[in-house]
């Protein structure tokens, strides 16, 4: 008679860090100390009490820009793993449960997609659709599907022969019910850590694509776009690149800790 131990240091630390960053970003969508797109004072000011992260070469407040731009990055990352995880879970459930030809065909298609480096695949999609934040979401979403499909296929296939699923089949439960209600909850221990890893990869992928100029386009700003912009000011305003980079790092670190924490649920704490 033992309850699973849920809370551990990783999970708590991850949730605290991530919540703080998230609240800060969400506030940034409604209120920023300065207008992120307007000149607010002298150009290239070093960080000070008035401008916590300093100003860029147009005199814009970097703190406000990061606060606002991180929202775009967050949207892209969440929507990307949303597409990847939902489509991947559907494909994984069908191939894992049915096996046979469905499995063979879909998984070979999956292999083809996996064979391309993800940034290249993203480039192809963007070159067809054009840049912009929604196209980045679509491109990265498609790139993320194969990984989730493969992972979820294993999570579903491993339950196919287990007695509680055989019982469900014998009681006459529909296939949809077996997949969604009997099997899906048992895949969460696989899916949740994968979502946190996927979130981090999506943040970094958005940053890379925007950095390369094939991602988010003005007037939208994102962390990746700003990183690309700050590159030209590395000597004159190093605090720009540094503050954007730090926010990315803290966000990725926080979510990574949550993922680590979820994997340690039920195991001994360190």
């Amino acid at each position: 008679m033992m309850k699973k131990k849920i809370w551990n240091g990783y999970l708590i630390a991850g949730l605290v860090i991530t919540s703080i960053v998230l609240i800060w970003i969400i506030v940034g969508q409604f209120y920023t100390p300065y207008d992120p797109t307007q000149m607010t004072g002298a150009k290239l000011q070093a960080p000070s009490a008035a401008h916590l992260f300093g100003t860029d070469k147009f005199g814009r407040d970097i703190f406000s820009r990061v606060m606002s731009g991180a929202g775009t990055t967050l949207l892209v990352a969440v929507a990307t793993i949303g597409i990847g995880a939902v489509a991947g879970t559907l494909i994984g459930a069908l191939t894992g449960y049915f096996g046979g030809y469905v499995d063979e065909v879909l998984m070979r298609l999956n292999d083809v997609l996996t064979a391309f480096p993800s940034i290249l695949l993203g480039l192809v999609v963007i070159s067809i659709l054009g840049p912009g934040k929604y196209n980045v979401i679509l491109a990265l979403g498609i790139v993320f599907i194969p990984g989730y499909a493969r992972l979820m296929r294993t999570a579903f296939a491993s339950q196919r022969e287990i007695n509680y699923i055989i019982s469900a089949q014998l009681m006459g439960a529909s296939t949809a019910r077996i997949l969604a209600i009997h099997m899906l909850p048992n895949t969460f221990s696989t899916l949740l850590p994968a979502l946190t890893i996927g979130f981090n990869n999506a943040v970094l992928a958005e940053a890379s694509m925007s950095f390369l100029g094939i991602g988010v386009m003005p007037p939208d700003i994102s962390l990746g776009y700003m990183l690309s912009e700050s590159q030209g000011m590395l000597r004159t305003a190093p605090w720009y690149a540094l503050s954007v980079g730090t926010v990315i790092a803290v966000l990725v670190f926080g979510v990574g800790m949550i993922g680590e924490g979820i994997q340690r649920i039920g195991k001994e704490d360190l």
Binding site: M2, S167, L170
Partner: protein, 252 residues
């Protein structure tokens, strides 16, 4: 062929006539698929209220026979006729027969939800009634399988199998994974429930002593064939086949 005879037969719950069955292993291409026959000309019937034992070494096809009776594999020759509702099954491993994601209460209610004929109050009433019959406290309805002991899980599995009131249960090594003291309790429970709920069992076991304790008749299986069948007393006291003698000698 597996048929469900709607006509109530007073005497029989199950008739297996000359069944041969096996598994198809599928390859990537159609010509790669291979058929392996496991059961050969299996022929027996189970009477109303009877506990039929099925003994034999591991790998002789006992579980395959159970799967054929449950309709999970199609016999390629012969016929399986059910004279009652769909049989339910109690598995050997109580750790995998309950869904770890859900509470005991959910696992007991789900067959009724799928059945779809009862409202929520009636379902809850039936679940509580069944918990009482398998002698488990109602508090356990809120527990997850990981919080239960092996014996408790097997009681829950039995309750889940019985919740839709089937008349025929296939028990596939239901006590083999349990401690000896717990084994005796579960066997007693199965026998008591037979009286209370008017059940018949196919009781699969490799343990001849357990079969002797609770079964009325017994089937001895070897390499997918029934080599001997009859009343437990007759078979145990006067085994005809060499194989049965060996099994009995090994069980002493």
């Amino acid at each position: 062929m597996t048929t469900n005879n709607t006509q109530e037969n007073q005497d029989l719950v199950l008739q297996v006539s000359h069944v041969s069955a096996g598994y198809k292993s599928s390859g990537l291409l159609p010509f790669q698929s291979k058929y392996t026959e496991i059961l050969h000309d299996v022929d027996f019937s189970i009477k109303h209220g009877e506990i039929m034992g099925l003994v034999g070494e591991s790998g002789t096809g006992k579980s395959t026979l159970a799967r054929a009776i449950l309709g999970m594999i199609e016999p390629h020759e012969g016929e399986i006729i059910h004279y009652t509702k769909r049989p339910q099954v109690v598995f050997q491993d109580p750790y995998s027969s309950l869904n770890p994601a859900y509470t005991v209460g959910w696992s007991l209610e789900e067959p009724l939800v799928v059945f779809g004929k009862y409202d929520a109050d009636e379902r809850k009433r039936r679940v509580r009634d069944m918990m009482e019959r398998v002698e488990l406290p109602e508090e356990l309805l809120e527990a997850k399988p990981s919080e239960l002991s092996g014996g408790q899980r097997q009681r829950v599995s039995i309750a889940a199998a019985l919740i839709r009131r089937p008349r025929f249960i296939i028990a596939d090594e239901p006590v083999s994974a349990l401690d000896v003291t717990i084994q005796a309790q579960i066997l007693k429970l199965l026998v008591d429930l037979r009286e209370e709920l008017d059940l018949s069992y196919l009781f699969i076991s490799h343990d001849l002593n357990v079969v002797y304790q609770i079964c009325d008749r017994v089937l001895v299986m070897k390499n997918g064939r029934i080599v001997e069948q009859g009343d437990v007393d007759t078979v145990y006291d006067h085994p005809k086949e060499e194989y049965t003698k060996q099994l009995l000698a090994a069980a002493q």
